[in-house]
């Protein structure tokens, strides 16, 4: 148990002899599920379902050749983005992630049309069709991408956190990465500086069990990812990433810690992606039964649906939500298919900001 600090003057992490890896986990264990209001629960359900349906449709459009290149779907991991981002202060906080980024954008309520149009490479896309699935940004929402180099977003997130601290704006940065990226060297370089400088950042490892086709046990000497900040005295949290209420509760605890100026938190969300790493992944490294078992027993949307029904929601009501979302996604897909591609004159725009 952490003792009260002896003085209030800032100390370097190395002088903090009270460091305990599990200090936040202890608090989390006392009450693991967020006490959501019925309205919040419905909102979580709708948002997760929107990601699910959007991604299913994206997969379909990919199959039709309308989406090219790489397309990494978020199906199965919806509770992570929704649980965490619902706890953000939208005016202050920033978010950054890797290439599996559609869900994080939808969690902001960004229009599915401009996201889908980016996936199809159209001028109405959020990056004017020049970024694609892996490179999308919304500075308006303080969503800083959408990065294709595995692990790069962790150091960049450290920079966003530095800007929050420098500007004293009270914001924090939420930096997502996967179990695969967790083996990149720059992640630890960033952990070191983030802890040393007490940067306001929450590192979230979305552990979906496979780095492309390599199971965590085949790639990682330490598979308990929440422990990976120990060497830098960063408290770790282990969270069931298939339960939106648990993720949200963990977010509350982690964000509070960071906002109090106590430095970074490392949160591991255990989750599962139902689809392949990208659309071109045949997923032969795991059994069909394993995937089916997850879908049958751990599905974040089905599990929340059960709670909603127990609490009195009607089946028809939930079906109507699904219908509305399907319609929204259908419209986004039509829009993305029918919007024109960028003008050839866009080829040389935005390379530089200024003229020389």
């Amino acid at each position: 148990m952490a003792k009260a600090p002896k003085s209030s003057t800032p100390r370097s992490p190395a002088e903090n002899h009270d460091f305990a890896l599990g200090s936040l986990q202890e608090e989390f264990e006392k009450s693991k599920r967020f006490d959501a209001s019925p309205e919040q629960m419905h909102k979580f359900y709708e948002q997760m379902l929107l990601i699910r349906r959007f991604e299913e449709r994206a997969g379909q459009l990919y199959g039709l050749g309308l989406i090219g290149g790489f397309c990494h779907l978020y199906i199965g991991q919806e509770a992570v983005a929704i649980g965490l981002q619902s706890a953000l202060d939208g005016d202050k906080d920033s978010v950054i992630t890797g290439y599996r980024d559609h869900g994080h954008m939808l969690a902001y309520g960004i229009d599915p049309k401009v996201i889908m149009a980016e996936l199809t490479g159209r001028e109405a896309g959020i990056s004017k069709g020049k970024g694609g699935s892996m490179h999308m940004f919304s500075t308006e929402h303080k969503f800083y991408g959408g990065h294709g180099i595995v692990g790069a977003q962790v150091a960049l997130g450290g920079g966003l956190a530095l800007a929050h601290q420098y500007n004293e704006d009270g914001g924090l940065c939420l930096a997502y990465f996967g179990d695969g990226a967790a083996n990149q060297g720059q992640v630890y370089e960033t952990f070191n500086m983030a802890s040393l400088w007490k940067l306001p950042i929450v590192f979230v490892i979305e552990n979906n069990q496979y780095a492309m086709g390599t199971a965590v046990s085949r790639s990682s000497a330490e598979t308990e990812f929440y422990r990976r900040g120990t060497a830098f005295r960063i408290p770790g949290m282990k969270v069931n990433g298939m339960d939106v209420l648990e993720v949200r509760q963990a977010a509350e605890i982690a964000f509070k810690h960071v906002r109090e100026g106590k430095g970074p938190v490392l949160m591991e969300c255990e989750t599962y992606r139902y689809r392949g790493h990208s659309m071109s992944d045949p997923a032969k490294y795991r059994s069909r039964e394993e995937v089916q078992d997850m879908k049958d027993h751990k599905d974040p949307i089905e599990n929340l649906k059960k709670i909603l029904i127990e609490q009195g929601s009607k089946d028809e009501e939930l079906k109507a939500i699904d219908k509305d979302i399907r319609k929204l996604v259908s419209e986004a897909a039509d829009f993305a298919e029918n919007s024109p591609e960028p003008e050839a004159s866009e080829l040389y725009t935005d390379v530089l900001v200024e003229e020389y």
Binding site: Y144, A152, G159, Y166, S280, D350
Partner: protein, 459 residues
């Protein structure tokens, strides 16, 4: 409304595949997520998952069929309330309008590709008559530029190894900690990839970081952030997300530090769209361009030279000495041959010009100052005048700035050439440690003189 199930593309390059197996039969109820069929390509077998709910209607492509083109309708799915048995192949494909989406894009037309206009008539600001000229070192000029910009803009800060308490490994940041404090002059651990990423992210977040590399040799560990994160973001975001960061530090050969510490990265960075690359020679350019770099909305790689840090030059004492990026400077006018150069080699080129003058050859010397965007107009203008050109570069010859200048002269100045454009660079070897071998490997004045005489047919 019945839904067409089409042969999916399972990879970016797949055009056709084998419909290996139907896992659902006509009349089966389908829910989203069900695996309907298995598709084989030459690379893999993949599962075809249902997205919509309904009843499988007519199967139009039998299992075992090979070479099924992507997009072929392979079955029909009857929606709720429809009779599956009556759902057959549906309406013909709607006509594709070029440019209006679908698979067909706009026709690429060269005429429509417009490159951004280059600013013309950009000149260095006039120095008012009577301005006092101070003698300062390049080191002091760089430090003063940073300090002035830090006073001017609260968002500007410096980070890097030994920049604060140690006062800079090469003392370029001397005194900054005292004036601006540890919030704005940040000592980092030895962790180039990490702090280059943090600096880049801070720029994305609205700050104006100056990231010092102790030398650009160490920036190799960080080059991913310079190129993939800083240079490409504005483009990939359709102009939404800027990255106004300056990466600076000494570049190229120092003295007797061996191959790993002695390399000119100018050509590397200058090849990357989205970056500004500056490599000044004297104190006035170092100060004026550093101030411009810090104010610039684009990411800048600012290449200094350790051997030049201590050299003194005249610098106009002005309140705000800012020079234009992307503009070369004629440092010595001449009419017989042009020597194009940048960074430390400008000093050698000027020495060579003096020696050539003694032999009756009047050389013009151009300092490129900015390597990207390259001021080819000034280079071609000079070629038009002298008809002969040598490029003096302290760096390897292959794929160099010199090579680029040669290409520009071939493509755009061919009619003005009276002799082949000639590269004078370092030898094409890793830089050796032994004093005699190091000397042999590096560019020097006699080599430039020799090449200039050769293109003047005076050897």
């Amino acid at each position: 409304m019945a839904i067409e199930l089409k042969m999916p593309a399972l990879s970016p390059t797949m055009e056709e595949g084998t419909l290996a197996k139907w896992l659902k039969q006509e009349g089966d109820e389908i829910v989203a997520g069900d695996i309907i069929a298995e598709i084989e390509t030459d690379k893999a077998t993949m599962e075809f998952e249902a997205v919509d709910e309904g009843t499988l209607g007519k199967i139009l492509v039998a299992e075992g069929t090979e070479n099924v083109a992507v997009g072929t309708v392979i079955a029909m799915l009857a929606a709720e309330g429809e009779d599956a048995s009556e759902v057959a192949a549906s309406a013909p494909e709607s006509e594709d309008v070029p440019g209006e989406g679908k698979d067909v894009g706009r026709d690429a037309s060269e005429a429509e590709i417009t490159k951004p206009a280059k600013k013309t008539d950009v000149k260095d600001p006039e120095i008012p008559h009577g301005t006092n000229m101070a003698t300062v070192t390049v080191r002091e000029a760089l430090r003063d530029a940073m300090a002035e910009e830090m006073r001017r803009d609260e968002r500007v800060f410096v980070m890097g190894e030994e920049v604060a308490q140690y006062q800079g490994a090469y003392k370029v940041t001397q005194g900054l900690l005292d004036e601006f404090g540890p919030k704005r002059v940040i000592d980092t651990p030895i962790t180039e990839y990490g702090f280059a990423g943090i600096g880049t992210g801070a720029a994305m977040g609205g700050l104006r970081p100056i990231v010092e590399f102790m030398t650009f040799n160490f920036a190799m560990q960080a080059i991913d952030h310079i190129i993939n994160s800083a240079a490409k973001t504005n483009y990939m975001s359709g102009g939404q997300m800027r990255c106004p960061v300056v990466f600076r530090g000494p570049n190229a050969a120092a003295s007797r530090v061996g191959a790993q510490h002695s390399q000119n990265y100018g050509p590397w960075y200058a090849s990357v769209p989205g970056l500004i690359v500056i490599a000044p020679y004297d104190a006035s350019d170092a100060k004026g361009l550093m101030k411009a770099a810090i104010r610039c909305e684009d990411p800048v790689v600012f290449l200094e030279n350790e051997l030049v840090y201590g050299r003194s030059f005249e610098l106009p004492e002005l309140d705000d000495h800012v020079l234009p990026i992307g503009k070369a400077r004629i440092v010595r006018e001449g009419s017989d041959v042009t020597i194009v150069s940048y960074s430390i080699a400008v000093g050698l080129a000027l020495e060579a010009a003096e020696q050539l003058a003694e032999e009756g050859i009047d050389a013009e010397v151009i300092d490129l100052r900015t390597l990207r965007p390259l001021d080819k107009e000034t280079v071609l203008e000079s070629l038009k005048k002298t008809n002969r050109m040598v490029i003096a570069e302290e760096g390897w010859p292959t794929c160099s700035i010199a090579s680029e200048i040669v290409a520009i002269c071939m493509e755009e100045g061919f009619d003005h050439l009276d002799a082949p454009v000639t590269r004078v660079c370092d030898e094409d070897v890793p830089l050796p440690y032994a004093a005699n071998l190091e000397k042999l490997a590096l560019i020097d004045t006699p080599k430039i003189v020799k090449a200039a005489k050769k293109v003047c047919y005076r050897d």
